[in-house]
C-alpha cells in the first residue's frame, strides 16, 4: 500500500511543490496588503472557493487517468484490497493538495504567529484546517464523479455550496460540519471505487448517502423548471404583473402579494399602506408621505451575535484602526478583550477590556473580559457592541463606558447603531429603539431610548425596516415575509410622534406569494419529508440567501390545505410508480428495488432524479456507447 501511495505521490510531486513555491511567493506578497491570518470575507471566500475548485479538479483528473481501460486493470489487478488501493491513492492525493495549497497558507499563519505579536489564535489555525477539509470534500466528490457511470453525477457538487456559503458560524460548528461532509463524500467515492465500475450499486448505505448529496441539486433543478411552464408563458401572454401600475391597482380581490412590495419604492409602499389608515389621519399621513424622505436599514447594518472562536471575517467589525493613532485594537477571542498593537513596531502596547484600558498583560483580571464576543464600530465616536450591550470608547481619554444594555430575556441586537434623521436607530430581535443623536454621541452615562417599538414576535433576523420623517415625528414601516408568524407575510405602518405614544396606523396581512400554493411550496412537493427537515435547517443555503437562516418551520408546522396535501401524495405515488417501472426495466435485484421504492416514498420526485443518476440503466446512461466491444 505504501508503494502505491509513494507512486501516486511521485506522479504529481513536482507540480505540487512548484505550486507550493508559487503560492508562498504570492502569499508573502499579499501579506503586505491583506491580513493573511484573518482574511477579509471576500478573500476568505476566494480561498475556500479556489480550494474546492482545485480539489474537485484534482479528484476528477487523477481518478480519470486511472479509469482508462488498461490503466484500471493495471491498478486494480494486484494483490491488494480495493480499500487499500483507494486509501493509498487518496492519501497521496490529500498530501499533494496539502503541499500545493494548504502548506503555504499554514506557513504564513505560522510566520505571523511566531515572528510578530499579532493576535494569532487557535481559530486561525482551524481556519486553515477548514480550508483543507473543504478542499478534501471537493476532492472526494471529484473522485466520485469520475467513477460514476453517469456524468450527471456532477450535480452533487451543488451540495458544496452548503460548506462554502456559510461563513458566520463558530469554528467548532464548521469543523464538525466539514468532518461529517467529508465522511459522507469520502464514503461515496470509496463505495464507487470498485473493480467492476459498471456494476450496479446495491448498497443501501450508498444509495441513502448519494440521495442526500443529490437532493439539493434535484430540488433546485425541479424548481427552476417552473420558469418554463409558468413564468415564461405568463410573460409571453402579458399576464405577469405590470409593475408600472400603482400598487392599489395590482391588488386583486382584496388580496395582495408580498413579492410586489419588494419591487416598489419604499415611499410607494408606504403611501399604499396609508390608504387603509382611518380618516382623518389617512389624508394627513398620505400628504406628508408624498414629501417625506426615507431612510432604510441596510443589510450592512445587520448584526448577528458573533460566536466565540468564530471565523469573524468582517473587517469593519474586527478592529479599531484609528487615523489619529498608530495603535490598532484587535479583538482576541482567547482573552475576550481588544489587544492594542503598534502598527509601526508590531509591539503590543495595551489592552481594552469592558472595565477600561490596561497597559500590561500582568494587570489583566477576569473583570476586564467582555462576556460575549465584541465587535468594533468605528464612526465619529467609537463603540463596542456585544450580543446585548453597547459600550462607547474614548481613545483619547482612555475610557470605556456602558452606554446601553438590553433587558429582555433572550433579547439580542439585530442591528448596529444607524443614524437616521435626528435619531440613532437600533434594533433587537424583540424591539426597535430610537435614541437622541446628540445624547448617543455625547453622553457617557447610561442612555435611555426616546422611542421604543415592540415587534410582534422574536425574529431570528431583521425584517425590512424603513423610516420616514414627517412633520411631528416619524413613520416606521416594517414588512417581512414572516411578519405575523412563519410564512404569514405582512406590513405595518407605525407612527412615532415626537410627543406622545406610538400609534399603529396600519397592520396589513398579505399573501406571501403571487404563485399558487402548488408552485410556491414546490419544495414540499418535491421532497415532502427529507427536504422539509433540510429546508428548515439549511434554508438559506438552498435559497442562496446570505442572510442568517430563516427557517420556515417543519412540514407539520406549516399551513397546508387539503388539495395541496393530496398533490404531494400524488407526486410521491407517481414517483413510486415510475421507479417501480424503471427498476423492473433495469432488472434491479429485489432488495435494491424495494429500497428505492421506500426512498421514493420518503423523498418524492427528487428520488427519481437520483435513481436516473445512480442506476446503470443502459438506455439512460449511454452504456451502449461506452462499452464498445473489445
Amino acid at each position: 500500500m505504501f508503494d502505491l501511495f509513494k507512486s501516486e505521490y511521485q506522479r504529481y510531486q513536482l507540480f505540487a511543490w512548484g505550486i507550493c513555491l508559487l503560492q508562498l511567493v504570492l502569499w508573502s506578497t499579499f501579506s503586505k496588503f491583506f491580513s493573511v491570518v484573518e482574511p477579509q470575507s471576500e478573500l476568505h471566500l476566494f480561498i475556500i472557493l479556489g480550494g474546492v475548485a482545485v480539489g474537485v479538479l484534482f479528484g476528477l483528473v487523477s481518478v480519470s487517468l486511472h479509469r482508462r481501460k488498461n490503466h484500471w486493470i493495471y491498478l486494480m489487478h494486484r494483490p491488494l484490497s480495493k480499500g487499500r488501493i483507494y486509501f493509498a491513492l487518496s492519501l497521496a492525493g490529500a498530501l499533494l493538495l496539502f503541499i500545493a495549497f494548504i502548506l503555504p497558507f499554514l506557513v504564513n499563519v505560522l510566520i505571523a504567529d511566531v515572528t510578530t505579536q499579532q493576535v494569532v489564535e487557535a481559530r486561525h489555525y482551524t481556519n486553515v484546517l477548514h480550508a483543507f477539509l473543504v478542499m478534501l470534500c471537493g476532492y472526494t466528490l471529484g473522485q466520485f464523479i469520475a467513477l460514476a457511470n453517469n456524468k450527471l453525477a456532477i450535480g452533487v457538487l451543488f451540495s458544496l455550496t452548503y460548506l462554502i456559503l456559510r461563513r458566520q458560524e463558530s469554528v467548532l460548528y464548521f469543523l464538525l460540519l466539514d468532518s461529517m461532509f467529508l465522511l459522507f463524500s469520502g464514503y461515496l467515492a470509496y463505495a464507487s471505487f470498485r473493480v467492476n465500475l459498471a456494476a450496479e450499486q446495491t448498497s443501501k448505505r450508498f444509495i441513502a448517502i448519494a440521495m442526500l448529496f443529490i437532493q439539493p441539486v434535484a430540488v433546485v433543478g425541479l424548481i427552476s423548471l417552473k420558469a418554463f411552464y409558468y413564468h415564461i408563458p405568463l410573460s409571453l401572454t402579458s399576464q405577469q404583473y405590470d409593475l408600472a401600475k400603482p400598487l392599489h391597482e395590482l391588488e386583486t380581490q382584496g388580496q395582495f402579494d408580498y413579492e410586489l412590495l419588494r419591487k416598489h419604492t419604499d415611499l410607494e409602499v408606504m403611501q399604499w399602506l396609508a390608504r387603509d389608515i382611518e380618516q382623518p389621519l389617512s389624508d394627513t399621513i398620505q400628504r406628508q408621505l408624498k414629501l417625506a424622505k426615507t431612510n432604510t436599514l441596510s443589510r450592512a447594518h445587520f448584526y448577528k451575535p458573533q460566536h466565540k472562536h468564530g471565523f469573524y471575517l468582517h473587517t469593519r467589525h474586527r478592529q479599531f484602526a484609528l487615523e489619529t493613532d498608530t495603535t490598532k485594537w484587535v479583538f482576541s477571542h482567547s482573552d475576550m478583550l481588544f489587544v492594542g498593537i503598534d502598527r509601526q513596531t508590531g509591539e503590543r502596547v495595551g489592552f481594552l477590556g469592558r472595565t477600561g484600558f490596561v497597559d500590561q498583560a500582568s494587570q489583566l483580571t477576569e473583570s476586564n473580559k467582555f462576556a460575549d464576543v465584541a465587535v468594533a464600530i468605528q464612526t465619529n465616536a467609537h463603540y463596542v457592541q456585544t450580543k446585548n450591550k453597547l459600550y462607547q470608547v474614548d481613545f483619547e481619554n482612555k475610557r470605556i463606558d456602558l452606554k446601553f444594555a438590553l433587558t429582555g430575556s433572550e433579547e439580542h441586537f439585530t442591528s448596529t447603531p444607524v443614524p437616521m434623521f435626528d435619531v440613532i436607530f437600533m434594533s433587537s430581535n424583540q424591539q426597535v429603539y430610537l435614541f437622541n443623536k446628540v445624547e448617543f454621541v455625547d453622553s457617557l452615562v447610561g442612555l435611555a431610548p426616546i422611542k421604543q417599538v415592540s415587534l410582534d414576535f422574536a425574529y431570528p433576523t431583521l425584517p425590512e425596516i424603513v423610516m420616514a420623517e414627517v412633520m411631528d415625528g416619524y413613520v416606521l414601516m416594517v414588512h417581512d415575509g414572516n411578519l405575523f408568524a412563519a410564512l404569514k407575510a405582512g406590513a405595518k405602518l407605525i407612527y412615532l410622534p415626537h410627543e406622545g405614544d406610538n400609534i399603529t396606523l396600519v397592520s396589513k396581512e398579505v399573501q406571501l406569494s403571487a404563485l399558487p400554493d402548488w408552485l410556491h411550496q414546490q419544495k414540499l412537493m418535491f421532497s415532502p419529508l427529507v427536504l422539509n427537515i433540510v429546508d428548515n435547517l439549511v434554508h438559506s443555503t438552498l435559497m442562496f440567501n446570505s442572510e442568517p437562516s430563516r427557517g420556515e418551520g417543519f412540514i407539520w408546522q406549516r399551513p397546508i390545505d387539503l388539495n395541496f396535501s393530496l398533490l404531494i401524495v400524488f407526486c410521491c405515488l407517481l414517483t413510486v410508480a415510475s421507479i417501480f417501472y424503471l427498476g423492473k426495466k433495469a432488472k434491479l435485484d429485489d432488495k435494491t428495488h424495494k429500497f428505492w421504492l421506500l426512498i421514493s416514498l420518503i423523498t418524492g420526485p427528487t428520488a427519481l432524479i437520483a435513481f436516473l443518476i445512480l442506476m446503470p440503466w443502459p438506455k439512460l446512461q449511454g452504456l451502449i456507447k461506452r462499452e464498445s466491444a473489445a
Binding site: D3, L4, Q10, I73, H77, R78, I624, A630
Partner: protein, 300 residues
Amino acid sequence: MANYIIETRALHKRLGKKVAIQSLNLKIAQGGIHAVIGANGAGKSTLFRILLGLDAPTSGESFILGHNSQSLEPEHRGRIGYVNEEHTLPTWMKVHEVTAMQKNLYKNWRQDLYDSVIGNFKVEQSQKVSALSRGERAGLNLAMALAQAPEVLILDEPTLGLDVVAKQAFLEALMFTQADIDTTIVYCSHQMEEIERVAEQLIVIENGEMKYNECPEKFSDMVTYWIFDEALSESQLSTLGNVLSARIIDEQTHLVLADLEAAEALEKLNALGIEAATQVPVSLDKAIASILAKNHRAPK
C-alpha cells in the same frame, strides 16, 4: 474444476445490442501456452476483462484458478498475471522503483527470472519508464509478470506495435522462461507467425463463440486445401460441409475445407465426380487465416 485453470460455463455478454460473447464454454487445462485467436471484435478482450472480474457477464459463469472471477480476492489476483497491449506502467517512475514496488507486492517474486528476462532487453535500472522504447517497456512488463511467478499469465496482444527485433526478444524470453516455470500462459495475438511459434493449444473465437480448442497439429489437419479442374455448383459445394473458400484460378478450382480429415474430404470430392483432386499442404497460419477470413466481410 480444479483440473482447469480457466473455465467458463455458458458465458454470455451483451454490450448494448451487440453480443460480445455467446454461450462460451471454455476449458483451459493447466500448463502450456494457450493461444486465443479471433478477429477484431471477436470478444477476446471482453473475455479477459470478465475473467479478471473487471466486467460482469450478462449470464453464465467464469472461473479462474477455480474461483468465480466475479469474486476474486487480492490473494487470488496475486496468482494471476496480466500483460496488456499498451504495457501500462507508471511512466513517471524509474525502472528500479517500479520493480521494487512489484517485488514488495508479490511474495513469490523470482529475482532470477526477472534478471534473466530483462537481460534480453537493453533496460537500464536507473532509466525512467517513460524513456523506454515500446519494446523495452514490453520486456520490462514481461519480466515483471513472469517474476511474479503467477499460476496463470494472460498476455493480451503483448507484441502489438513492436518491431521485429523487439518481438523476437519478447518471444524468446517468453518461451525460454515458460519452460523453466510452471505457469499456464494464455496468449492472445493476431500475429500468426507468433502463434505458430509459441502455441501448444489453439482456441479460436469467432463472433463471441468458441469454434476450436485444439492443439496446432490437429488444427492444421482440420483444414485441407484442394486443387482440381472441375467447377462446382453452389449445391455441390453445400454437400461438402464447411467450405472456407472456393475460387477459380487459371481455370482450376482452389477449395479450402474445414472440419474434415483429408481422407474424408477426398471421399466427398470423389462422390461429386472429382477424381483428380490434388491436396496442397496448409500451414498453420494459412489455416487460421482461412478460418478467420470466412466470416470477415469483404469489400463490395
